[in-house]
């Protein structure tokens, strides 16, 4: 059976013993069906070796997935972000995110997740950076107010889907932390070390958990 190039929800794609179900598909009675509308993509992948019923030779089973519409990240929608631009996407574990710090607490900082991977979210998600997730070393000496300020743009990684309203974000690697920060006077600062940003005019240094520039 040849695969259709475009599928609609509920369209039969193939049996589960010939294909693996990928994103945008679901299984019903040993058959893979499409669950969103879009082009069908079958990418070769190795079947897991635990299938003992067949012979020992590990055959290649293609992974069937349906791609979502390509999002143009330059187009934020007609009324700015949160108004139709961006993709319907949820944060998943190990996703790199960009976010903005919205609140500082004693034990955690709150941020809003604006970008997941390379795609702009349609709506901001609530994220939380616990104090012990800010950096990997000397976790007991971390102080929130020396790491983030409200309004900082940060890069982080999702470590847990969290509780009812927050995703848990960590910045405990070199390349994660504050990407853009403004000083108390409101000027854009530049990073000088992994824990300091400096104001270009007054020269005053402020403590931040800086992300390593690429």
């Amino acid at each position: 059976m040849s695969l259709p190039s475009l599928a609609l929800p509920g369209q039969l794609l193939g049996p589960t013993d010939k294909y693996l179900p990928g994103p945008g598909t679901h299984i019903h009675e040993q058959q893979i069906y499409a669950s969103i509308a879009g082009p069908v993509i079958s990418s070769p992948s190795k079947s897991h070796s635990s299938s003992t019923t067949t012979s020992s030779k590990s055959k290649l089973v293609p992974l069937l997935s349906i791609s979502r519409p390509p999002t143009t990240t330059t187009d934020p929608g007609i009324l700015g972000t949160g108004s139709g631009g961006g993709a319907p996407l949820l944060p998943a574990i190990d996703d790199t995110i960009l976010g903005r710090i919205t609140r500082l607490g004693a034990r955690f900082a709150t941020c809003e997740i604006l970008v997941i991977g390379d795609t702009v979210c349609r709506e901001a998600f609530q994220g939380q950076i616990r104090r012990e997730d800010i950096r990997a070393t000397e976790k007991d000496k971390i102080k929130i107010e020396e790491s983030f300020r409200v309004g900082d743009l940060i890069r982080g990684v999702v470590i847990s889907l969290g509780d009812q309203s927050n995703y848990y974000v960590a910045t405990d690697r070199n390349e994660f932390g504050v990407v853009m920060a403004r000083s108390e006077e409101g000027r854009l600062m530049y990073p000088v070390s992994w824990r300091e940003f400096r104001d270009p005019v007054s020269g005053r240094a402020e403590g931040r958990k800086a992300a390593k520039p690429f």
Binding site: P4, P9, S35, P39, G84, Q164
Partner: protein
């Protein structure tokens, strides 16, 4: 009494169709205007569907079932109403802070008649009929959405009815009072809501088990025959075209799985309700053909660039798009 205190409200009771002197002078004239069903009993009205009409929504669609009868030259009142519905999907978006944890997608449906949607003017606040329709639509859609794919999120389906099917012919309501006005039009409206919401959800890219569509079948009494027992079963009834509808049934049908997620029956069904349900599923399959065609067309436009890249490398596959109803 919940009236709208924030706006200048229209006079209660609404507007009525103009009565022309000729209808009173000539007793037979009014009846000569009565619309008649010109299609076959298994023939649906034509459907116009357009997805992605609201740019700010994540998915949207517009459905129109235009009036089938030709406009008469002797009167200004259109013989039958047409059905015009828009649906927009907001989300999936994160739940508000106050909401409790939900492992799957929370679906909210809102159905609203525009104030000018029916011959009797509707209010701005949702009334019981609209809330009832919303619940029916929610049960229909809940069975088709794969909610587990979207934890901690909510989605809103907002359906606005710009013009609703009437419960009967306007000439009857003027002369006989409530001859058969018991909400036959609502069944058509519900089926349209289901179809248009399904197209909008597919447009929004929310995971679904199938494309769901609505269909209506009815049992009508044949006005020509003398025999009162002479009943006719037909698909997609236009209530204005029938003097007396005995029973009607609207379903939400998943064609590829042969499942029904929602049934709404009205009237005296008789001994064999299954035949009526069966008929309604046939009507749903008929509108599914339109929905699939339209969605595929929209997809082809959306993925134009991506497909061309894919097809230039591999063999051409555009020929085997499955379009069966």
């Amino acid at each position: 009494m919940n009236t709208d205190r924030r706006r200048n409200n229209a006079p209660p009771g609404g507007t009525s169709a103009p009565v022309f002197a000729r209808t009173i002078r000539e007793p037979g004239y009014l009846q000569s205007l009565r619309p008649r069903r010109s299609r076959g009993p298994n023939e649906l009205r034509r459907i116009f569907l357009q997805p992605s009409i609201i740019p700010s929504a994540s998915g949207s669609a517009y459905l129109e079932i235009p009036t089938s009868s030709t406009p008469s030259t002797s009167t200004l009142v259109p013989p039958t109403s047409s059905l015009k519905i828009t649906a927009s999907v907001q989300g999936p978006k994160p739940l508000p802070r106050s909401a409790p944890f939900s492992p799957s997608l929370l679906l909210t449906t809102t159905v609203k008649f525009a104030p000018f949607a029916t011959r009797n003017r509707r209010g701005y606040i949702r009334d019981t009929t609209e809330r009832d329709l919303g619940v029916h639509l929610e049960t229909a859609l809940r069975g088709v959405i794969i909610g587990e794919r979207w934890p901690k999120s909510g989605v809103e389906v907002v359906v606005t009815i710009l013009e609703g099917d009437e419960d009967g012919w306007w000439g009857d309501s003027a002369s006989e009072g409530s001859a058969n006005g018991s909400g036959w039009g609502l069944l058509n409206v519900l089926a349209g809501c289901i179809t248009v919401a399904s197209a909008a959800i597919t447009d929004a890219g929310i995971d679904c088990v199938d494309v769901i569509t609505g269909g209506v079948a009815a049992i009508t009494r044949n006005p020509d025959s003398r025999d009162q027992k002479d009943l006719a079963r037909l698909l997609d009834p236009c209530p204005a075209e029938h003097k007396e509808i005995v029973a009607a049934c609207a379903v939400a049908y998943l064609a590829s799985r042969d499942e029904i997620t929602e049934i709404w029956m009205k009237g005296d069904i008789g001994a064999d309700p299954d035949a009526l349900i069966e008929g309604a599923t046939h009507a749903a399959v008929g509108s599914l053909a339109v929905v699939k065609d339209v969605l595929l067309e929209a997809l082809q436009a959306k993925f134009q660039g991506q497909l061309e890249v894919k097809e230039s490398g591999v063999k051409r596959k555009a020929g085997d798009v499955d379009m069966t109803g």
